[in-house]
Structures are given as structure tokens and as C-alpha cells.
Amino acid sequence: MNSIRARLIIALTILVALVSALAATVTYQRVLHETSILFDYQLRQMALSLRNQVSLAPRIEVPADQGDADFVVQIWDSFGTRMYLSRPGLPMINQTVLGFADLSVQGEAWRAYGLQTADGVIQIAQPVRVRGTLARGAAERVIVPLLLLLPLMLMAVAWTVRRGLGPLQRLASEVQRRDARSLKPVVSEDLPIEIRPLADELNRLLLRLQAAFAAQRTFISDAAHELRSPLTALRLQMQLLDRAPDEAARLEARARLGDAVARAIHLAEQLLALARSDPQEAVGQVEAMDLSAVAVEGVADCHALAVTRQVELSLESSPTVRIAGEEESIRILIRNLVDNAVRYTPSGGCVQVRCAQTSGGALLEVRDTGPGIPAADRERVFDRFYRHAQGHESGSGLGLAIVKAIAERHRAQIDLADAPGGGLQVSVRFPRSP
């Protein structure tokens, strides 16, 4: 049963039933108690008044029947002879008692009061049933209005619940109209305070979604624009290949076409790497790994480029450097850093990679003898598709953005600084592995 209305109705019915039962019981008990005292008093008063009458005129007929009250009056003389019985038709009570007593006559309970007089004994008796009937009547008078009230209360509950849940339904239909393009917050002012937290959380979720979608759109738009450059180069070289006037021009166009294809592939790979290293994504296989081993591979990947560019590439590392990370992502991070360093270092320069365990965790350092990055630009170089002003390299513009995303995922800290003796020094500090 998962309906608020049904729950409320059931709870209320049970409550009303319990209250009615309790009220009836209490009323019954109290009325019974009170009538007992009252009737006992009456019995005694009757007996006393009879004594006066009898003593004044011993043979006078006592008033007959006491009506509905079912009283039975008996008078015995001092010899024990019954002198009077008010209702001869009734079962006889042959016991003579003094004071109050509970008697049983043919299975029925009676209450009796016996009074010693100068001439004998006067006894007034009444069936206990009379008192019970009175008490039951009183209890019924209490319970009936309560029970009559129940359907009214249930209707009121049903109405209130429907009214109370109305805003929830409005909210639901408002949310239903939402899609990726209309993520405006839902109206939460006129909602009951019980529902408002839900609406507020919903709005926060919508805002986060909005931001995520906007970021996605920007990324796709940026990516599409960036793809245009290698595609333009591809198309140009293809057309030049088609119209090459001689064999030399044809060969050159072919070579450049190959470069353009390689560049388009590189950009596609970098875009994919960036998408995969999105910090919002669930982290994949994080495991204990050796940073130095991955650094060796990353440096080896860039060796060919370094040779072509006549840049001296070196790695200095402790035997094992423990971090917790995704090996493939870390390899991409190292490759991007080293590749960048090699590309921006003029021939004859050198790129040093250092990898060490530190007290706080692990350190990866890439130092080059290139032009460095002015302090003012050091924040922006991590933006997607950002290129240095003096950069003559046609890279993807994504390398450092990828590095940053991967570092963020590993809670690693990146610092850009001037390398001693000019050039750029990139430090990536990994936290201590758990």
C-alpha cells in the first residue's frame, strides 16, 4: 500500500475506532460506577423512608410497585415472618441481609439493602442488570456521534490529501514537459513546504544538467571548428595533388597530404582522449601502479620525435614510484607533456623528465629549454584549443587540456614554472597512494 491517501484513511479509521472504543469503555465504566453509587443511595433512602412509615403505622400498605426500577421491597417482622412483598410475581429473594449485599437469584445478580428496624427487617433489592443497561445506554450515546463523524472525517481527509497533492501533480506535469533543451528551473514558490525540498533538489539537478549540456555543446562546437583546420588542409592537398603540373609537385602534394591525414588522425585521437579523461566520468580501473615504468614508456613513445627534432630527451627516475591511478590515462598524460615539451624546444635543446617518490606522494617533472610560457598565460594554456601566441606548432591545442583533466581525475596538482636556465617546467604531484 503506497498511497498517502489510503494510508491516511486507514490510519484515521483505526484511530477513530480506537478512540470510540476507548470512549465507550470509559463512559460505560464511569456511568456504571456512578449509577451504582446513585442506586445504592436510592436503595438505602427507600429503606429508610419505609422504616419511618412502618414504624409510624406498622400495618399500612407500603407504596406498591416502584415502576421500571424493578425494585423489590420485602419486610420481615422480628420473628422472621415476611410481612410484605412488593411484587409477588418476581422470583423470591429469601435471604435476609443487613447493609448492602450482592445476591444471586436464579442466576441473576441482584443488589440488596437490608435495614434493621425495631419491628423487623426491611429489604430493598434491585437487579444489577438495570445498572448495566443504563451504563450501556450512556456509552452508546457517546459512540454513535463519533461513528457518524467517521465518514465525514474520511471525506475531509480525501479532499485535503487531493488538494495537498495537487501541487505535486502540477510539478510532475511541469517536469514532464522538460527535455534537454528546456532545463529552466521549475516554479517552487507556491509548493507546500513538504514538497519544496524535492522541487529545490530538482532545480539544482536541472542547473547541473544545464551546465553539463552547455559544456557538451561548447565542446562539440569547438571540436567541430578545430576539425575544420585539418580537413581544410586535407582538401587543399588533395586538390593540389589532382592538379599537380609535374612529378615533383605531385610528390610534394602527396607528402603533405600524408601529413594532413596524420594531423586529422592526431586531432581525432586527442579529442577521444579528452572525452575519456573527463573528470565527470566515473573513474575506471584505479589500481596501484608504478609511475616510473609508465614514464619509461611515455618517454620512449616520444623518442622518435625527439630524434627528428634533434632534441635531447632524458629520463631520471627512482626504480619504482607508487601511485594509485589508471595506467592508460597516466601514459597519455606523460606522453602529452613530453610531446609538448619536445615540440616547443628548439633543435639542440633538451627535455628532462624526472619521476620520484616524495613525502607527499609522487612527483612527475618535465623540464624543457623551449621559450616557456609567460606567467599571465599559464592559466589559459589548460583551456581546450588554446595555442601559444608565438606557437608555430600546428598541434591539436588539446594536449594540456587532456593533461589537466587526467590530473584532476587523479587528484594530482599541476604547476607550471620557469625551468632553471629558461624553458618551461611542468610538475605533476600525485597524492600518496592509499
Partner: protein, 219 residues
Amino acid sequence: MRVLLIEDDEMIASGLQTGLRQAGYAADWMRDGRSATAALQSTTYDVVLLDLGLPQRHGLEILRELRRGGNSIPVIIVTARDERENRIAGLDAGADDYIVKPFDLDELMARVRSVLRRAAGRGDPRITHGDLCLDPATRTVEQRGIPVRLSAHEYSVLEALLQRPGTVLSRAQLEDRLYGWDEPIGSNAVEVYVHSLRRKLGSEVIKTMRGVGYFVPKP
């Protein structure tokens, strides 16, 4: 015709340069805004191909400055930015045409010819002068309806002179039209081309103003 190519992407720029040179244009390439501004001040160009996303100075800034300085040289914006706002901003900043990357080389060449034609104040795509008729689209020449075979450089010299009949162009000016900065120039190349043109078209077509240069007389 001398073209200034302002483009920060080396691959695109070198491809364009090759394409322009194959089509008979002298093409200089500048990769950033500052050197582009310097080149525009030092050299006379016939058309500018301008990328917008440049390091140091934005393309539109260069364009606006050029126009404010009273330079009416034809400018074609060549960019990856294809949004309506960008196109409007580019044309309103003084561009004569706007082409989006990745473009078709043939289309770009046609647009270059189109802005050059309009800059010369002509509607007819062909240049006619007396019994001569040049078609810049195919780079062919006819004399009295008979095709004349010219080399690419011979055509360029003839075209330059026919652009403004009566105007004298010096040897240096003609060399400017023929060669980009990084192309080697033969010592008396222009004299050789003029000689060859006179041989093919008749000696009366190109006149010499001694000590100044060459011109095509007004018809």
C-alpha cells in the same frame, strides 16, 4: 597579381600558397597579425586572404585598421567560423567576401577573381583590349578570336598591364606581381617576358617608356 595570405595554420597556408602560385599569383604568407600589418604597409597587394583566429591580433582588427587607413584593397575572409554573426561582422568590418573552411580551392580562386574584377571596376569577367581578350578564369588569351599560348608568367605580365591601360608599371612593380618574397627572381626576367609577349602578340601591344617601365596604350 600579388596575394597576401594571413593564416596561422602552416599546413593550410603552405597548401594555399602552392595553389595560388600554380594559378599564377605571387603569394606571400604572414602567420600573425603584427607581421601582416607590417607587410601591408611595405608592399602593394592586389588581394588579401585573411584568417580571423590569429595570434597577437585578431583578423577583424587588422581589417578595420586597413579600412580606417583608407586602403580599399579587396579582402576575402577565410575562416572556420561559420556562424551568421561572424559572417555579418566580417563583411561589415570591410571584407569583400567571406569563405568558410574547409573550402574548395576552385571556389576560392573564383572568389579571388571576382573581387579582383570588381576592384578593377569591370563587370565582364574577361578583359578585352583592342583585338585582345583575356579570360582570368582559364588564364587564356585570344587575339582576333584565335587562342594564343602564353606561359604563366607571360600571362601575369600581360594581365597586370591590361588591368589599367595607360598606366606605366616599372620592372620592380611587375616583379612584385610575379614573385612572392621567397621566390627567386631571374635578373632580367621581366624583359624576357615582355620580349616574348611582343613576339607572340605583335610589337605594338606593349610599349616601353624608357627608364620608367612598360604600359599598354589606351585603346
